[in-house]
Structures are given as structure tokens and as C-alpha cells.
Symmetry: C2
Subunit: 437 residues, 2 copies
Amino acid sequence: MGANHRMLHLNLFINGMGHHEAAWRHPSARPERLTDIRYYQHLAQVAEEAKMDAVFLADRVSTSPRAVQSGTVSGFEPLTLLSALAVSTSRIGLIGTVSTSFNDPFNLARRLASLDHISRGRAGWNIVTSGTDQEAQNFGFEKISSHAERYERAREFVEVALKLWGSWDRDALVLDKERGVFADPEKVHELNHHGRYYRVRGPLNVPPLPQGHPVLVQAGSSEDGKAFAAAFAEAVFTAQQTVEEARAFYADFKTRAERLGRNPDHVLILPGICPIIGRTEEEAKEKEAQLHGLSDPRHSLLLLSNRIGVDLTDYPLDAPLPPLPPAEQIEGHRSRTQLIVDLAQREQLTVRQLLLRLAGGRGHLTFAGTAKQVADFMEEWFVTGAADGFNVMPQLMEEGLNDFVNLVIPELQRRGLFRTEYTGVTLRDHYGVPATR
Amino acid sequence: MGANHRMLHLNLFINGMGHHEAAWRHPSARPERLTDIRYYQHLAQVAEEAKMDAVFLADRVSTSPRAVQSGTVSGFEPLTLLSALAVSTSRIGLIGTVSTSFNDPFNLARRLASLDHISRGRAGWNIVTSGTDQEAQNFGFEKISSHAERYERAREFVEVALKLWGSWDRDALVLDKERGVFADPEKVHELNHHGRYYRVRGPLNVPPLPQGHPVLVQAGSSEDGKAFAAAFAEAVFTAQQTVEEARAFYADFKTRAERLGRNPDHVLILPGICPIIGRTEEEAKEKEAQLHGLSDPRHSLLLLSNRIGVDLTDYPLDAPLPPLPPAEQIEGHRSRTQLIVDLAQREQLTVRQLLLRLAGGRGHLTFAGTAKQVADFMEEWFVTGAADGFNVMPQLMEEGLNDFVNLVIPELQRRGLFRTEYTGVTLRDHYGVPATR
């Protein structure tokens, strides 16, 4: 194997006390640390020690009294948190989720430019459009705008952001004290962008970014989401339940990117995986059962309702999932809703059973097994064209992360599937994805 | 003197390579460090070592090819930068400027809440309304809205932010694993704010802040600005040219706050001062002359034009300042413009002379002298009711800061005017200003 043979890419997706919705109730969890920066510094440092590609933060711009009752608080704003983590680490990438629906391109492009400088080239932006009325109601709207309109707006938003990041030529900064020329004004450009949603004069008020622009990440798997991601995304975070579905998604996605003139190797497909690792498979299943036993199905139903934007809270728990509106009528998180409906139908699940299937990772694939089984699983997906790597979502953040880095990563390294040292310094270096704009 | 005797409050206002507009051209300046986070970490650590109350960051949300030519780039977004500084320091306060005209209350309240948690209670928000068309043009507008309307909007913005920070009762977080109660839903409140400018549902998705809410700082000295600050500000950053003017401002301001039912001791008045320190007065004046010699008057005129929102770039340099529009017609930075006009008239300055007077601190008081003279000056202002402390603005950031902390602060400490150790951990502790909302 040469130095450039294909390697797995592994992000640590940090989420509260863990991705299992009841993680904070686990005996080992210390939920008082959720507002303690040292908790996040520790997780990022553990992931960096393990040579993972990046930490990843999701986001949601609302909560409710009922949701916080059972532990659903989105918490710190991702880019604010990542900036603190940037100076607490030196190599690991820093990917934050920020919505295009409730931000201005100038401010967000600038904040990401700042993070890219502060981290010396490790910033990534997970682009979301937000999908719930509850979020829209924190920003002056009654209802979230339509799925199609959100993606149209997102497209223009990203185009403007790319123009802002490109508004200084790479060699614009001169710093000539003698002549008093700080930057060459011929190499710093106004945008004068006048689009459908945005009017932005520019230029950006931050010098050129170490990475050119932050790594662009996208997670939507709806038709609109895939078209958007094929055009812009450099890493795609996706929820896939079976290797067959994942392969089909992977092949389709790489083809779409290629058709748009892009190098398909420069778009990484990273499904989520929520592992629970035991010394034996039995121990892993016991750990999973323990977490499931801490779930409250009425709260799970509220979470699911909030997530897909359809109120399910009065549904009976021990009956099959009643029909939901067809996907094209769902203006919220369309692809996730479709995945959930398919899962319930394929496996003939009652609502209660479905909720437990979702408890560990909200629709991402959950996997309870030994380190070897997790490594086998990842290897199969990796070598058969289902994934370029994974967004790793430990169901119990500290204990599960420790199991993953102490048991699974060494196994992947033994198999030559994962780096043993960082070979570069930026997130683009880790991902092998050059800035092309 | 008792433990609670009145002490000076000193912020370090960090600005590029220094507050003098030509600071980056000085032989000791290393402008390539402007994008290096270690530069800012170093400055904050020096200020913390000297027991200063806070670092302070200004902001402007635009630049232009002509402005960057001579070194005017606002640079990193303040809160992103402060979050990195929060984990690089442990005691010093962190005050960032953010505009109410180009942000959403929900996002900004959340980012400040995040910073307050990450810093364990050291966040401050300098509230500005932005004053130029150039900035407005980065956010979809042709022109900046009127002075009065910006302040009306700012008032509602701050009211919403305070409601969001207050949307969790202090004891709302329960973390009862046994019963599965993360937070008490009776103690987490929706706002359902429906105002003239904003509709925000709430609650905030971040648990209660260490400080209750960030320290609110305001810098406007116009009539609108003073009315706003008297209602909300806990520290007022102001530009005053003479001790008489400063005393009048101070007395007027404390009276305004008292009339609104506030404790006047809980509103600190902190004028800006731009010191240049020499071993002798002569040496200090030489240092000042050296910096002035690096200024380019044509660039200074552009800066001034951008600052006050009136195009002066074709004015002859060696004639008196021509009349400007009356203050009430200026929709930009009204009080700063008035200060500049008054200064030019009082001292009968030509445009060129005025520009040099502004070069060191953009209208803030500049002072070239010995450490003893600076300390005398500060003491006089402090004991005669002109100031509760100062926003210290070194004209040359590194060298001038070193002079200030090595020479002036020990002199102030010898006089019992400045702390020798931090006595608390939050910015509110340092300022002696409790959260009242």
C-alpha cells in the first residue's frame, strides 16, 4: 500500500452527554458538565489524540419548556464553542452547523473566516436550512418557509459566502511598511451581489483564509438536499440504515457530483454510526438495553415530533405508526422523515419499538457489538462503496468515545484503514479535499 | 482605606497593531501577526497579568479596497475572537462590540450566553447601532436607517435579549437522573415577544448564564445614545477631550441613570485614553512625532469620512475644516462627528492638523508623557468626578501596552488607585456591578 492509499475519515460528532436521548441519565454521565467548557475541550483532545479528522457539532435554534424537561437543550452556539476548541487543540478539524435560514451571509462568512484563521485552517461549515416552525418563530416568522424555497435561499447564501471568501486575492496582503501599502486595493474586490434573497456589497473585512474557504459539509438527503450537496458539499453527512441503501446513495451521489464537473473523490460520503461497544456482543447489547431502559417514550415521541415537524404526541405507543403525510408535503426535515417511515414499515414496528430504534441516534444507524464487529462493519461499508468514512456518534459520549478510540481505532489502524499520525495541518489536508473556488 | 474603597477600572481596548492609524508601519510592529491568534492571546494575557478589568474589542461590519490599502481591516469577528481568548485566560473580562442593526436577538443572545459560560462569567457586550451606509450595504440595504430609528430598534433588541437571558429561572436546571427531569418546565418560559421590530418565541436554548446576563456596555454620546445608555448600560465608553467636558458628561449621566431608578454606582463611566509613554516627556513626544510621521493625510481623510459618514476626501488639507451638516442631520456617528467639529473650532485647526489630532485615537484623548504624568492625569479625572476608570487605547499596541502595564499600573497601585490582585472571578465582580434583571 502506498502513502496515498485510501483511508477512512472519522469525525467525532459531539452531542450533549451522548447521542442516546437518555445518555444524561446514565450513571456514568455528569450532565452538570454540559455548560463546562472543559468537558468539550476534553472530548476534542481525546479525538485529536486518536487522530480523528474532525469534531462535528449539530445545531437547532430553538427549544421549549417541554423539551428541556427531558434534556433536550441544544446548548452553546457551535462556532462560539469551536473557537474555544480551536485554541485547545492543534490538528483536529472543527465543523459547526449553522443555518442559512436565520443568518446573514456577511456575518456568517466573517465568523467562519475568523474561525479558520484562529484554528489555522481547520474550519468546516455544516450547511443546514432548519426545518421547524418552532425555530422560525424565534426569528420573526410564523412558519418555516417551504423546503424548496429554503434550498433556493441556501444556494444563494453559499454563493455569496464563497464570493466573500474569494473577495481578497490570495496575494492581496502586502504589508509594505515603507510604501504604506497594507493590502493591494486592486486585489481586494467588491461583490456588489444583487440576488433574489441577498444584496451584499463586500469585500469581506477579514484577509484570505488559510483554507481558501471552510470545508463545506451538508447533511440533507432529500432531492433538494442532494442537488444542493452535489453542487457545493465537500463532505456529506448522511443517515443510512443498510449497506445496500448506503451503496446506492454513494454511487448516485458521486455520479451527480461528476456530472456537475466535480472530482468525485473530493466529496466524502460520511454516514452516521452510533456504536455501543462491549468486550462481548452480549455486553454491548446489555449496555444498549440499559440506555433504552432510561428512555421515556412520551418524551421520545415529543422529540420525534419536533424533529420531523409533525405532531405525533397523541399517538398510541403499541400500535403501528399511522400514515404520515407524503414526503413532498412535509416542509420540515423531509429525508429524515422518509427514512423513519421506511424503517417502521420495513420492520413492521410499533410506535414504541420505532422510538427505541431512534433513541440511540435519531435515525442514524445504531450498532451494539465488539470492537472487531464495529471495525468489520466499517471496513465492509468502506471497501464496498458505501462510505468514505463515518461521523462517529457515541451513544454515551465519554465512555463510548473512550471505547471507540481505545478499541476500534487501533483495530482500524492495524488493518491499515486509518491514519496513525496526522500528515497535514488543515481539515482540507485530513480530508484530501483541495479548495477549488 | 477599607477593602471596598473606590478603585479605577481599566480596560485594554485591543485594536490592530495599535490605536494610532499608522501603528502597523512602526518599526516594532509585526502586522503579519494580525491574523495570528497568538498575538491576541499574548495581549490578553499581558493585560490579565496586570489585573486589568477587561479586554475590549470594537467592530465595524464593512471595509473597502481603498480602506484596506492603508491598513483598515476590522478583522476577526469580536465574539469569535473572545471565545478563543476565554480559554486562554482565567480572570480578565471579555467585552465585544456587536451591532443591533445587523443581527437577530435570538442568535446574538445565544452567542453571548455561550461566551459567558465558556469564560465562566466574563462576557460583556458593547452595544452599537452601526452608522454607515457602507455597512448597511453588506446587509441588503442602500442606506443606514435614521439615527432615531436605529436606537429605537436597539432598545427593543436589548429588551428581547434580556428576556431571553431571563427565560430560564436561576434554579431551572434540576438534573434529576432518577426522575428523568433535566430542567423544571415550570421554570423555563416562552417569551412570545411581539414588538415593533421583533417577534421572538423563546425560551433561549442555553441554561442560565453565570453572570445572569453579560455586562452591557454602550458608547454613544448623542442624545439618543445617552438616553439608551442611561436605561441599559452598566459601563459607558465615551470620548471626552477635556476634564471639564468629562465632568459635565459624568454628572449628567449619573443623574440620568438615577432618575430612571438605577444605582448610579452601577454605571461606570470609562473615557478612552490613548497614551504614549516615555521616560521623559520629551521622549514621549518624540514617539508621538514618529508615529505621526508615518501617517498619510489622504488616508486619514478617507478614514474620517468613513467614520462620520460624510465624504471629505476632496477637502484641501491646509485650510480650516469647512462646515459640516448640523449634528441633527447626521444619521451616522452623530456624537463623534460633533466632537470632531468642536475640536477643530476650539483649537482653530486646519484639516491637516485635525487629522493628526485624530490619528492617535480617532477622537479619543491622546496623551504623550511620562508614566507619572499619565497616572496624575488619571487620578485627577478619577477623583474629580470625570471618570470611574478608562478604556486604555495604546497607540502602539505591544510596546505601548508594555509601557502602560510596566510603568503606569504600578504607579497607580502605589497610589492605592488600582487593584494588585483580582478579588473576584466574573466581569461583574471586577466592575462591582450586580446583575439587576
